[in-house]
């Protein structure tokens, strides 16, 4: 056969950089530029005189870090310069056909936040430890919810009902925590409540092929209605017998808890936070390193292929969804077994939807989703801390913050992420 060399058709190779379309890649530098402008506008039009103090120490550290006091306006000006440099770096990378790396965005965000705080708290003291530690505490239900969401979607079931699982978990924890007389009883009840919602979701979504988004939304509304009704009819009548659970105390971990900054932020928390750390590690390990995880991912990506190698698709989906429900339910317990030991109507405030955003922002990965949830927790806590400090920003605006961060994160920064291929698609044999 007389042939010459292969036709030089390097389409795939040359198309690789183009696979990050310019429009998507441009989002990052534009977003960074806008943030830089906003921070610059702060000192241009509303410069605040005075010094800002960042307090880094908490009680009982090994040693006390000194508080850092900086002149407000000069700090913001420095920050603006740094932000401008970051934006330029991002623009340069994009112009060379590369993406903006995540670490650059992360550093940018931290610097921007320092600048914002230096401005907002001029003449006052920012309790850095309280700000960060409180963020973790507020992020707990989000992290549990997001882990549950990640597991469900990896197995191919879209779980819009995270909010319902959190709320029902909170409700069950309040009642059983009171009745049993131990927060542990409340925690177990919360997990079972989350699993119950998951079971109903699975029943419709897996067994009867009902549209998963619709079932999820309906379940959320159902749980709101059910808990509000029972709260009004039963709990509000007997608050002492039914709605006064014991709560989990803070357990400082010896040694670790005494490291400056890190200790009080990470290791002087309740048992639920430590359980959350464990849950993140276990879920990530189980999903990527175990036989069970391989099967869960196969079922979510290509259920028919899983079926042809003898994996029971729908059974795997059910078990995964139930485990996810247990986890999300535990997140609900945070609401009633930690700071405010009492159930209130619609007390999750749509946190489940933010957890869902964390799932997508975290690209269906347990660790990334956890980081996303922590970011949302920080945004929530920031609004609280600033209103205590008496910041110049209107409080209504600060309340928007977690949701604004959600929208920017999901729409602006996620880029082209890929959901599990069979996510939301019921499996029918044949």
């Amino acid at each position: 056969m007389s042939t010459t060399a292969k036709v030089p058709v390097p389409i795939d190779e040359s198309a690789e950089p183009a696979a990050v379309p310019l429009r998507t890649a441009l989002k990052a530098p534009i977003l960074l530029g806008v943030v830089t402008m906003l921070v610059a506008l702060l000192i241009a039009f509303k410069a605040r005189a005075g010094k800002t103090t960042f307090r880094l120490a908490a009680d009982t550290d090994f040693f006390d870090l000194p508080a850092v006091t900086v002149p407000s306006t000069a700090t913001v000006a420095t920050v603006v310069v740094l932000l401008a440099l970051g934006t330029a770096a991002s623009a340069l990378l994009v112009s060379r056909g590369r993406r903006t790396p995540l670490w650059l965005i992360a550093i940018f965000a931290v610097v921007a936040m320092v600048g914002f705080l230096a401005w907002a708290a001029a003449g006052r003291t920012v309790p850095v430890v309280g700000l960060l530690g409180g963020s973790i505490a507020l992020a707990v239900p989000l992290v549990f919810g997001a882990l549950g969401g990640v597991l469900g979607e990896r197995a191919g079931v879209v779980n819009i009902a995270i909010d319902g699982q959190l709320l029902f978990g909170a409700f069950a924890a309040a009642i059983f925590g009171t009745v049993v007389g131990s927060p542990w009883g409340g925690l177990v009840a919360a997990m079972l409540a989350g699993a119950l919602v998951a079971l109903v979701l699975g029943f419709f979504a897996i067994t009867y092929f009902v549209d998963q988004v619709i079932v999820g939304v309906v379940l959320n509304v159902l749980v709101i209605g059910l808990t509000s009704f029972l709260f009004g009819q039963v709990l509000a009548e007997n608050p002492q017998e039914l709605n006064a659970p014991d709560h989990f105390e803070r357990i400082p971990i010896p040694v670790l808890g005494e490291i400056p900054v890190i200790g009080p932020v990470l290791f002087r928390q309740t048992i639920l936070v430590y359980l959350m750390y464990a849950a993140v590690v276990i879920v990530a390990w189980a999903l990527y390193r175990t036989k069970w995880g391989l099967r869960v991912r196969a079922v979510g990506e290509h259920p028919k292929a899983a079926d042809t190698v003898g994996i029971k698709v729908n059974r795997t989906r059910y078990t995964t969804l139930l485990i996810a429900g247990l986890i999300a339910g535990a997140g609900g317990a945070t609401y009633t077994l930690v700071s405010v030991p009492q159930f209130g109507e619609e007390m999750t405030d749509g946190a489940g939807y933010i957890a869902l955003a964390a799932v997508i922002f975290g690209r269906w990965d347990p660790v990334r989703a956890t980081l996303a949830a922590l970011l949302f927790g920080f945004a929530t806590n920031l609004s609280g801390v600033l209103s205590v400090l008496g910041s110049p920003v209107p409080s209504q605006f600060m309340l928007m913050l977690p949701y604004v961060v959600t929208i920017i994160a999901v729409a602006g920064l996620v880029g082209a992420s890929r959901a599990p291929a069979a996510d939301g698609v019921p499996y029918r044999k044949g």
Partner: protein, 504 residues
């Protein structure tokens, strides 16, 4: 080791997909299961593989009946399957795919990936495959993916291997390599069931041939039977396998494509500067393995692609940048490659489907109202003329067989004055009788002086109908050659190699 199917019957509602089918396959033997699309081959194999439960009959391994409640049982019994649509998870590595469902584990269910890699290497070596256990499956060429499927089956010690239409996605060269692998497997004692509707391949590789038609075994044949004998057995009547056509009488160039580029939304280039022309009264066949830009070419002509550069001229008209409506008005007829998705509205009647491309005005619509009388008369005529077997013109398109659906599409596209016919996979999934009919229509269109662009992944069809053949590979034209070019040369061109002496 002998595998026997005895009296397998499988019904879907009133439809009998398998009617008391019995067959046997022995160790070290290749049994070909020959039948048309829809004859019930795949259903039978899904029963054998435990995906479907048979309504009657039994499966015996060495004389002992097998109880199957799912694919797991089939695998445990040593039955493996290479599926027509690969059952591989695209985002998993080769090793992960091979171990899935059969995982080697360590402490607390931890995956032992090293064991899986070792298994892949070991089997690859035995058969001379070059497969990297850590490659992501979605990045592998189709031919290699198929080998991963084979490795997957062999890693479970399959003693019976079923190949379901394995050559549909392969180039002729890859097909030859697959046949070599099958011979090796046979020599190592594996029993093989080879499902196909391609006569040439069946005769080349099979030891015995079982023919099924409409769900029942209609006969056995030896590989020495002629194509005509096999085809007659498969279809149930003598079939003309060759297309009779006079030499083309090409007129002036009527359709000219210059430097056509198509990019999709994610920035991938699908067509990279291709140029060709078709004369009046000429069929240009577009050959190539599926996914090398054929779909984008036909869609770019029809105005269905959004990022098109270059020029497509039909007579006086420039088609690039025109809406689909304008393209149709310029006289382009289009048989899309997937009739169920793009060709027909399943819930519409035959009559309604026949007027789809002329729903905006005369002759079917006047003053915004459908002229039902005219439409019925028209549909009735076409039903007869195109030999559409249906209960009547009010039958829903979704109720027709593949061949009859395709005849409706062809009837609609050919029943107006055309200045170009674009036919993409016109006979995919169509029975042999209808194939004959559709081929005759394509030739008749050519003879009426219309330029025809024929896209097909079946090389036989391209060779039979075309006057010239253009081969596409990765969005570029490898060459445009005469229709009598040898198959081996075309095969090499489909793999991207440009034979000496052909111009691009």
């Amino acid at each position: 080791m002998t595998l026997e199917l005895r009296g397998i019957t499988k019904r879907f509602g009133p439809l009998v997909a398998n009617d008391r089918i019995s067959l046997t396959v022995n160790e070290g033997e290749i049994l070909a299961l020959l039948g048309e699309n829809g004859a019930g081959k795949s259903t039978l194999m899904n029963v054998l593989y435990g995906l479907y439960q048979a309504d009657e009959g039994e499966i015996l391994l060495d004389g002992a009946p097998l109880k199957m409640s799912g694919p797991g049982d089939a695998m445990a019994a040593g039955i493996g399957m290479v599926h027509q649509h690969f059952m591989l998870v695209p985002v998993f590595t080769v090793a992960e795919n091979v171990m899935l469902g059969n995982e080697a584990t360590g402490f607390a269910g931890t995956l032992d990936l090293d064991a899986a890699r070792q298994r892949v290497r070991e089997i690859s070596q035995r058969f001379g495959f070059d497969v990297d256990p850590d490659a992501l499956v979605e990045t592998l060429p189709v031919g290699v993916q198929q080998r991963v499927e084979i490795i997957k089956a062999l890693s479970r010690d399959a003693r019976v291997l079923v190949f379901d239409e394995p050559t549909a996605v392969l180039t002729p060269q890859e097909t030859d390599e697959l046949m070599e692998i099958m011979r090796q497997l046979r020599a190592s004692g594996t029993a093989i069931v080879f499902i196909s509707h391609k006569l040439r391949e069946v005769r080349a590789i099979a030891d015995r041939i079982t023919v099924i038609r409409r769900g029942a075994v209609v006969g056995e044949a030896s590989p020495t039977a002629t194509n005509a004998e096999l085809a007659a057995l498969m279809v149930g009547r003598p079939v003309e396998l060759t297309v009779h056509k006079e030499p083309a009488q090409p007129g002036p160039e009527a359709f000219v494509v210059k430097d056509l580029r198509v990019v999709d939304d994610t920035g991938h280039t699908h067509l990279d500067g291709i140029s060709f022309s078709i004369a009046r009264g000429e069929v240009l066949g577009v050959a190539g393995v599926q996914g090398n830009g054929q779909t984008e070419l036909t869609e770019a002509i029809m105005g269905l692609q959004s990022h098109v550069r270059g020029s497509i001229r039909l007579g006086e008209h420039e088609l690039v940048g025109k809406s689909v409506r304008k393209v149709l008005d310029a006289g382009v007829g289009f048989v899309p490659e997937d009739r169920q998705v793009d060709g027909l509205v399943g819930g519409f009647t035959i009559a309604e489907n026949l007027m789809l491309n002329r729903s905006h005005g005369k002759p079917f619509v006047s003053a915004g109202t459908i002229r039902n009388g005219y439409l019925e008369e028209f549909a009735q005529t076409k039903l007869v003329e195109y030999d559409v077997r249906a209960s009547g013109i009010q039958a829903k398109a979704s109720q027709l067989s593949g061949g009859n659906q395709q005849k409706v599409v062809v009837a609609r596209e050919l029943s107006r004055d055309l200045s170009l016919l674009v036919a993409a996979q016109p006979t995919r999934g169509v029975d042999v009788g209808s194939i004959e009919f559709i081929h005759k229509q394509v030739v008749a269109t050519r003879d009426a002086g219309v330029p025809v662009l024929l896209v097909s992944t079946e090389l036989d069809e391209i060779v039979a109908l075309s006057d010239r053949i253009m081969v596409l590979y990765r969005g570029q034209v490898v060459g445009i050659v005469p229709a009598d070019t040898p198959r081996e040369t075309l095969g090499l061109m489909m793999a991207g190699e440009r034979p000496e002496g052909t111009a691009a």
